[in-house]
């Protein structure tokens, strides 16, 4: 038997080992698809229907107009109108509302006399991000109101105006940011699950020693063991991509080839890490533990939900060994920014290095870690 035949035989055996078991097949196919759909809808920072209470002591035409502007926006939903100070605390405390808008009794008087009319806004800060975004939505509504009011009443508007234009994601839909991220996230989870236990399981069963005494060289074992992870990763990754494009309608503006080159390098590095964990583990429990210990930080420190640039310098340095970091940039670059190979070069080579190093270590561990 030549090398190619041997590798092929092992690759088929590995693929069967993963897919033959019905439970394991279900785990690999069902949850990723369900999670893609659920997370695609769930993981959004955009706020809709923010529960709001209005405490309007003024009840004049301008104050009502301001309130209508807020309640008419899709971002806010009026839960209740209140008429006492004491009602504010329980509403916020019990999370019945997120925002209370309070207009004092002399609101319209101030407004008509040209004095700055205060509009007090109380926001539940338990989730500070939501609080900031809510404040941002309110600020936009207030600025519009002010400009229109100044215009109608012949007041001087602000001498300079901001014209903010977001690029690449013109309507600032956070789904466009998150869904490409989910492609990377789920591909990583699937690949790690497939490879993370493949050696540990054989070691526990004792069949790995048998594999080592066959004429197969470590490189051949390595390639054979990598095969199912990469194949399953590519197939499921493609499926997830299709859902992102056709179901969630995220625009794909860049080169598909650049995306697939990224995915291939990413899968190689994920498989390398998975096999390395697997060959370090003596028992399957340790294998699972290792897979978890790798997955959780790589997701949280990848820039998937919170930007890497907000992290302290030292944590930012740690993200350089995380392949997901690079793949997320590639995904978002190709999807939204229309990137091609040249702009993504700096994302490709670190993944290639991670892949080579981890695969080499895994191959070395095959023979050198025997109990």
């Amino acid at each position: 038997m030549n090398t190619l035949q041997r590798i092929l035989a092992l690759a088929i055996k590995e693929l069967l080992a993963v897919l033959r078991d019905k439970q394991s097949r279900i785990v690999l196919i069902g949850p990723p698809i369900a999670q893609l759909i659920i997370f695609g809808y769930a993981a959004t920072f955009d706020l809709n229907d923010i529960p709001l209470a209005v405490y309007n002591e003024d009840r004049s035409v301008p104050s009502r107009e301001l309130v209508t502007r807020i309640t008419g926006s899709p971002h806010f939903r009026l839960i209740t109108a209140i008429d006492h100070d004491e009602q504010i605390t329980p509403l916020i405390d019990n999370r019945d509302v997120l925002v209370v808008l309070h207009l004092g009794p002399r609101f319209s008087e101030y407004l008509k006399r040209g004095k700055p009319a205060p509009a007090q806004v109380i926001i539940d800060g338990r989730n500070s991000n939501t609080a900031l975004l809510t404040l941002g939505y309110l600020r936009t509504i207030f600025t519009d109101f002010n400009i229109e009011w100044s215009h109608q009443h012949g007041l001087r508007g602000p001498p300079a105006e901001l014209q903010i234009r977001p690029w690449y994601n013109e309507n600032l839909l956070s789904r466009w940011f998150i869904v490409p991220g989910i492609v990377g996230l789920l591909t990583l989870v699937i690949t790690t699950i497939v490879t993370g236990l493949s050696v540990a399981r054989e070691r526990e069963a004792g069949t790995f020693d048998q594999l080592l005494v066959t004429p197969m060289r470590p490189v051949e074992i390595l390639i054979g063991k990598s095969f199912p992870g990469i194949l399953i990763g590519l197939v499921e990754g493609t499926f997830i991509l299709l859902v992102a494009i056709y179901w969630f309608e995220v625009p794909l503006r860049g080169s598909l080839g650049a995306l697939y080159l990224g995915m291939f390098l990413f899968l190689l590095s994920a498989v390398g890490i998975g096999l390395m964990i697997s060959s370090l583990a003596v028992t399957q429990q340790q294998g699972i533990l290792g897979a978890f210990l790798f997955l959780v930080p790589s997701v949280i420190l990848s820039g998937f939900a919170t930007p890497i640039s907000n992290m302290p310098e030292i944590v930012q340095q740690m993200t350089y060994v995380n392949p997901l970091r690079y793949f997320l940039i590639i995904l978002r670059g190709v999807f939204l920014e229309g990137d091609s190979y040249d702009l993504l070069f700096n994302q490709y080579w670190p993944m290639a290095i991670i892949a080579v190093v981890t695969l080499a270590v895994a191959g070395w561990l095959f023979r050198h870690r025997m109990n």
């Binding site: 989730n127 028992t283 399957q284 949280i300």
Partner: protein, 377 residues
């Protein structure tokens, strides 16, 4: 011996056996104590939604006192790191290479329009790929703009006429520090992982090694077996939990405004839910391989995305909101964020604890029943 005494003896034996197993394989101890510390340190520092020193390209086509004061306003803000660029082309190049997050562009007629017509445009481009970051940055830019407007009006000797002034008050977290809500949420995510990992393989392991049959021929009852397997892991998990809370308080300076006992009680309840979930996985899965796969898939990502830890549940589509009700971390995150930041607000603490209690009964009850069925088979 009375039946009660024999039962106690059997239970004690089971607990002892599980405890010994934990002690012999130090990986469980590592999961319970080392993991929360490492993860909390890493994430507590690593996960932040507060942008600081956002790099901005400043393009000033005709520099004078007015543009200098506006650029100065950006320089004084802690949120921005303004960098001068010669022209818009150079700035755009840096923008494409992601060296700057946004561009502020003052065209050569800025001062003229500012002083004569009073309609000077400040062109701003932000990278919208990360929509959340872009919105927050927009908010900061508006803040800088408003401060500058007031200063500019004052320097011109006129009063800026603002019809309505927004006076925001952010309760519970006046400094709007994202760490204050992320760290309690992280405790929930980490504890979900730890609970599920500790137990998800304990039963599958016995089946695989054949020791389950040995256990079956002993007089031990199924309920005792479930309890015996849970107790040592519960103690381990609670230890890890206390460690995490201590770190939140002293390492990350998150205020604890509610009572410590309410926190402990809710945590114990949640720990039982997480362990119950792990045990159920372990009973249902045929082998360790599948048990491990399932616990990775159904614990970490749902706790991360569907718990309200980072993404607001009330903004999700109705159908997804319904799904979040089966994620135990959801209830615990609500309790933690309230107890840490707002205080003992009983309606929230109690209603969410009740939900946790129901989930615990379901998981443990199911685990016990499935155990039974397997014995029949």
């Amino acid at each position: 011996m009375t039946p009660l005494a024999t039962r106690r003896m059997r239970l004690r034996g089971m607990i002892r056996k599980e405890s010994l197993q934990i002690l012999r394989d130090p990986s469980s101890i590592a999961i319970a104590f080392v993991m929360p510390v490492v993860l909390l340190l890493l994430f507590g520092y690593g996960v932040s939604l507060d942008a600081r020193n956002v790099p901005l390209a400043m393009v000033v086509e005709q520099a004078d006192a007015n543009t200098a004061s506006l650029v100065g306003a950006f320089q004084h803000s802690e949120y921005f790191d303004p960098r001068p660029f010669e022209n818009i082309q150079a700035a755009q190049q840096a923008f494409d290479l992601r060296e700057v997050f946004g561009i502020v562009w003052l065209r050569n007629d800025f001062s003229r329009r500012l002083l004569s017509q009073g309609d000077a445009p400040i062109g701003v481009i932000v990278n919208g790929v990360d929509a959340n970051q872009a919105r927050i940055t927009e908010g900061y830019i508006q803040g800088v703009w408003q401060t500058w407007l007031v200063d500019f009006a004052r320097s011109q000797g006129v009063e800026l006429q603002v019809p309505v002034v927004l006076e925001p008050r952010i309760w519970f977290n006046a400094a709007v520090r994202s760490r204050n809500f992320l760290v309690p949420g992280l405790i929930a995510v980490i504890m979900t992982l730890i609970g599920a990992m500790l137990t998800s393989m304990v039963v599958a392991r016995e089946w695989e090694r054949g020791t389950m049959e040995a256990l079956m021929v002993t007089p031990i009852r199924i309920g005792e077996m479930v309890v015996g397997k849970l107790v040592p892991y519960f103690l381990l998990g609670m230890g890890g939990m206390l460690l995490s809370v201590a770190m939140a308080l002293w390492q990350f300076d998150v205020p604890l405004r509610g009572s410590f006992w309410a926190l402990t009680a809710a945590s114990a309840l949640f720990m039982l839910v997480a362990l119950g979930m792990g045990l159920l996985i372990s009973v249902v899965a045929k082998n360790q391989f599948v048990a491990g796969q399932v616990s990775i898939v159904i614990t970490f990502l749902p706790a991360f995305i569907l718990s309200g830890f980072i993404f607001q549940i009330s903004s999700m589509p109705e159908a997804i909101q319904v799904i979040t009700h089966i994620v135990p971390a959801r209830y615990y995150v609500a309790i933690l964020q309230t107890l840490f930041l707002a205080g003992d607000i009983w309606p929230i603490v109690l209603s969410n604890s009740a939900a946790l209690l129901v989930m615990m009964l379901i998981f443990l009850g199911l685990a016990r029943r499935k155990f039974h069925k397997r014995l029949d088979a």
